[in-house]
């Protein structure tokens, strides 16, 4: 059984945990460095990326998490979590943390304020029917490195991307009953377990 950590400092971590439990994974809420031990995959949820940056620092998680990512941990970031994974952040704060795990330039709150938040159907690579997606004060992916695969786009901009064992989404697959995107990440994690 895959052991999935969900960064539980602030944000929509409980919704992600429910998804992975329903899919049969063993789920750990990550609040301190020792919670990273033995993980096969990690989710960085949505929430406020500035708040999470502060709490990553005060909880002593920045170094251990960066090491875990470098050592090959599979990671899925949604919304604020995608911002934390991206190599370049626009409209962020100077002290904002970035793990540079995926070669992408993202702009915070690019889709506007809450009144501009929206839901829509997306066509996702490898899924045979559309995925209903909820975007909340979402960050936009503006440019991508050459090794990054686009799994879904909205209005010609990428919104779900993958590079090796890192996945990132502008939207919130944890907020709808559909578990297929969590399944995609779990498949990625399990394929890595098989190789190990």
């Amino acid at each position: 059984m895959a052991r999935i950590g969900v960064l539980a400092l602030q944000g929509a971590f409980a919704a992600h945990a429910e998804k992975f439990i329903a899919l049969g994974a063993d789920v750990v809420e990550v609040r301190r460095p020792e919670h990273l031990t033995g993980l096969d995959g990690l989710v960085l949820p949505g929430g406020e990326s500035t708040t999470m940056s502060n709490l990553l620092t005060s909880s002593g998680l920045v170094g251990p998490l960066a090491n875990a990512i470098v050592s090959g941990l599979a990671v899925f970031g949604t919304c604020a979590g995608m911002i934390l994974l991206s190599s370049n952040i626009l409209d962020g704060r100077d002290d904002q943390i970035s793990f540079s795990a995926i070669d992408a330039t993202v702009r915070r709150n690019a889709y506007g304020r809450q009144v501009d938040s929206f839901e829509c159907d997306l066509s996702v690579t490898s899924l045979d029917t559309p995925f209903h997606a909820i975007f909340i004060r979402a960050p936009a992916i503006e440019t991508l490195g050459s090794g990054v695969e686009v799994l879904a786009s909205w209005n010609d901009a990428p919104v779900l991307i993958r590079s090796g064992r890192i996945m990132a989404a502008s939207f919130h697959p944890e907020l709808t009953p559909d578990s297929r995107i969590h399944r995609l990440f779990l498949d990625l994690v399990e394929s890595q377990l098989a190789v190990r």
Binding site: Q10, A14, E48, N54, V115, F118, E119, R137, L175
Partner: protein, 295 residues
């Protein structure tokens, strides 16, 4: 393939409430305070002209803040900005939506504008949070379209006792409904004066249909952790931060306490050296209970 996007739907409104979980929403009255709150790790700020402790002291009619002041706070920070409208004052809510605030708090801390009706929150694209002292009140607000409930507590007192009472009342009844049989649910709906389908939903899921946050009287890191251990999903801190001796340090400590609410070692560490908290007042010393406003 693209379908046309939908804005202002209930899942989209509730979605922002989900993103604020595990966080601290701080009352601020100036852009400078908003910056301090953001630097300390607030997940959102509540823009208002006077914190509840001052509203209590000054008396008079408390209304929606000046749009210029809200704009100033919006410009100062990148985190969500909330603002308060009077209970039933749907025009104040229209103005706040037009200003682009991220969440409207239909709040008992302001002087009510309508003594019988709350705002029809389904008419708005902006999400609403409403206060509640018990489960029936919470479900009535949800049936009017609220995307988040906060237990009311007693704002501006620095006294956590009412927040605890209201949280325990809401969560205790949710637990009791979880053990009721289907016939008893009709009686629960009648007793709570709440829509039956919402009561039935709680019996199924064991929780409110929207996130439940805690507000009103929280002043220390331990207060925030107490609310979280009782079952709140995030906290609002009003006067407790900027009426204390060292707001920036206290704000950061409350943020850490909210995340590590179940870890007494971390709570002990962050509770040290914070200077004096707001003085606070006992419930027998106040002449107006804000929690009684709203129906």
């Amino acid at each position: 393939m693209s379908s046309s996007p939908v804005t202002g739907s209930f899942p989209v409104k509730r979605g922002l409430a989900e993103m604020l979980k595990g966080g601290v929403i701080m009352d601020v009255v100036t852009p400078e305070q908003a910056k301090i709150a953001e630097d300390a790790g607030a997940c959102a700020v509540m823009a208002l002209e006077r914190v509840p402790a001052d509203i209590r002291k000054d008396g008079g009619v408390a209304r929606m803040s000046d749009p210029e002041m809200i704009e100033g706070i919006k410009k100062a920070v990148s985190i969500p900005v909330m603002a308060k409208a009077r209970i039933g004052h749907f025009v104040e809510a229209q103005v706040l939506q037009s200003l682009g605030v991220d969440f409207v708090d239909e709040s008992e801390v302001l002087t009510p504008a309508d003594e019988a009706h709350h705002i029809d929150k389904y008419k708005f694209a902006v999400p609403f949070v409403c206060g509640a002292t018990n489960l029936g009140e919470a479900l009535r607000r949800i049936s009017e379209g609220a995307a988040m409930i906060r237990s009311k507590g007693e704002a501006g007192t620095g006294n956590v006792v009412e927040a605890v009472r209201h949280l325990r009342s809401i969560l205790g009844d949710i637990r009791r409904i979880g053990t009721a049989d289907s016939a008893e649910l009709f009686d629960w709906a009648k007793k709570l004066q709440a829509p039956l389908p919402l009561v039935q939903e709680i019996a199924q899921t064991g929780k409110l249909p929207v996130p439940l946050f805690c507000a009103g009287g929280l002043a220390t890191p331990a207060d925030a952790a107490l609310a979280m251990q009782l079952g709140a999903e995030a906290v609002f801190v009003g006067s407790g931060i900027f009426k204390s001796e060292t707001p920036a340090v206290r704000a950061k400590a409350i943020v850490e306490a909210t995340t590590h609410f179940d870890n007494p070692d971390i709570l002990a560490k962050v509770s040290r050296g914070l200077g004096a908290p707001m003085t606070g007042i006992g419930m027998d010393e106040i002449n107006q209970r804000y929690a009684e406003r709203g129906w």
